[in-house]
Symmetry: C2
Subunit: 333 residues, 2 copies
């Protein structure tokens, strides 16, 4: 492949597209199931309990401290399977590429995507590329669909009981702030890295406990959105303790300066679990023994006497967390 | 939902996004597996032979005679499963929506998408929506991933033998020309409809024949691209007879006027089959008995004595069909 930038001919089904797929996508993503000349890939699953999920990615900028849109796509989709109790197995990949995109940047992203998939043990078995005219694409959008097999009991918001504990696996808001700083829109600089990471190991550890009711990764809308969804689905209130919530100092500082509420900021490598209170300390201990869960914390509980999501503030007040309306940080994932 | 146009807040994970998903997507796509509050959908398959495929869609305009980007997404993805010998079962859906898109147009498209899925018997079980800033999205891009179960013997280009017949299920080029005319870029008008349709019934009929080697839907790059791919994969040449190729008169007229070669135009409801010559007439007869296959034709054969794709023209000459390089009609699917 001789070109340095993407042209419309890279999307036409002919030679340029074939070379782009063979020389860039297939070279990094190679695996036995991936046959770039076939219309569909044959896959095998060792269980009949199959879970399927999908995600689109439009993050800006495409590369940021701690990751890029490629690693984000793999983590986002495999994490959705992991929090559902599944082991991710196979992925599909769609790339919408903007005419004029630098091929070296595309290659960095697909290389990271392939490495991230390999780390998690998931295979990209089919894909499609489309090229849109200059100005109509933000560089690159990705869509990934994942299938996996259920490993343990079925998790559901409907299992949640009053008194259940709410645990978060680590500090919140790093991804949102890291991406925002990478935009350089505020003239701020910082060394905050995205938390983007796989939560599979944490989810597998928690799933061994029969008292695990439900898990979710707090992406768009953050922890507050997970809690308002729990409230909406169960009818029970949620009571959170602000002082229990793990937040890194630099993230809190940026939030204080710019008026962001860390409760609504996206994480891409954290998981929130709702667990029978009798098993919460054990789950917490398990998580804290993992590298990615060292700062895990019980941040609140399900309260049948409440009809909203309430956060007890550090100075002893109470604050209602409403469903998100305006968008504090668009294009975060 | 009160809004008439999409705003960035429809993509933020909060109330507007939830309402858009509940009131528009979920309302039309409702099925038992679709739970818009879950991270992943549970699906069951009645076979271990699973096939997976994916496609992105950036067609312009979004609505055209004979379909829209919604029906195209369903047909494109289920057809890729069908030509691989699978019965499509479940789909995921990603929508990248441009800020400012008219919600009524989005609803027309998703309604058509849902109706098309229902006709084919496939369920959309998971989805994701993202909103990009005005100007960065072409209105709407879709990505769909499908899984299905294999129904019969495995098809592969590697099964192809010298002497095998090449059959096309109907007239070519209607989709490409219909979309091109809908752009009104040439001041031309016509009543050409896209051929976008499911090829599942035709594929199931052909798959009953043990002599069926391989099928493909001639989308981007058209029949010529299918043939150059066959040549590239097998090493055998392909010999086609131009006079056998079914083309509607209005499509041929537009091609003559504008210099398009119908061999390279996209179809979205046709299938090309490579079949043992001894069974070709029977497959042809089967296809012609279907409503969508009435104009099916044997258009050529695999020729081990050739090292290229050759078309014998109506006036007795020979023309080599090369792999597509420049893009005659971008954004066709």
């Amino acid at each position: 492949m001789q070109d340095t930038h993407i042209s419309l001919a890279h999307g036409n089904g002919g030679r340029y597209m074939r070379e782009l797929i063979e020389d860039l996508f297939a070279r990094h993503l190679a695996n036995p199931e991936l046959d770039v000349t076939a219309d569909a890939a044959q896959v095998t699953l060792d269980s009949d309990n199959i879970l399927m999920t999908t995600d689109g990615f439009i993050v800006q900028p495409l590369e940021f401290p701690g990751g890029n849109i490629g690693s984000l796509a793999i983590h986002g989709t495999t994490n959705d399977l992991a929090v559902s109790g599944a082991i991710p197995k196979y992925l599909s990949l769609n790339a919408f590429i903007e005419e004029g995109m630098e091929i070296a940047a595309l290659e960095r992203i697909i290389k990271t995507l392939a490495e991230t998939a390999a780390e998690i043990g998931v295979k990209v078995v089919c894909g499609d590329t489309k090229v849109v005219q200059r100005g109509e694409g933000g560089g690159l959008y990705l869509a990934t669909t994942g299938i996996g097999t259920l490993n343990g009991h079925v998790l559901s918001m409907h299992n949640i009981q009053p008194g259940d504990s709410i645990i978060v696996s680590g500090p919140v808001g790093d991804h949102g702030i890291a991406v925002m700083l990478a935009r350089e829109a505020f003239g701020l600089r910082g060394d905050i890295q995205s938390d983007a990471a796989s939560v599979l190991e944490l989810c597998l550890a928690a799933h061994k406990f029969p008292g695990l009711r439900f898990m979710r990764d707090p992406t768009r809308g953050g922890i507050a959105t997970v809690c308002t969804e729990l409230h909406r689905a169960t009818g029970y209130g949620i009571r959170l303790q602000q002082q229990q919530l793990p937040i890194r100092d630099p993230v809190q500082s940026v939030c204080d300066m710019l008026g962001y509420d860390p409760m609504y900021l996206a994480c891409e490598g954290r998981v929130v679990a709702v667990v029978d209170a009798n098993e919460a300390e054990q789950v917490l201990e398990q998580w804290r023994s993992h590298e990615d869960g060292q700062q895990a914390a019980i941040i609140g509980h399900v309260d049948a006497g409440l009809n909203c999501v309430v956060m007890e503030t550090e100075i002893g007040g109470e604050r209602i967390l409403e469903e998100l309306e305006d968008d504090p940080l668009p294009r975060i994932c």
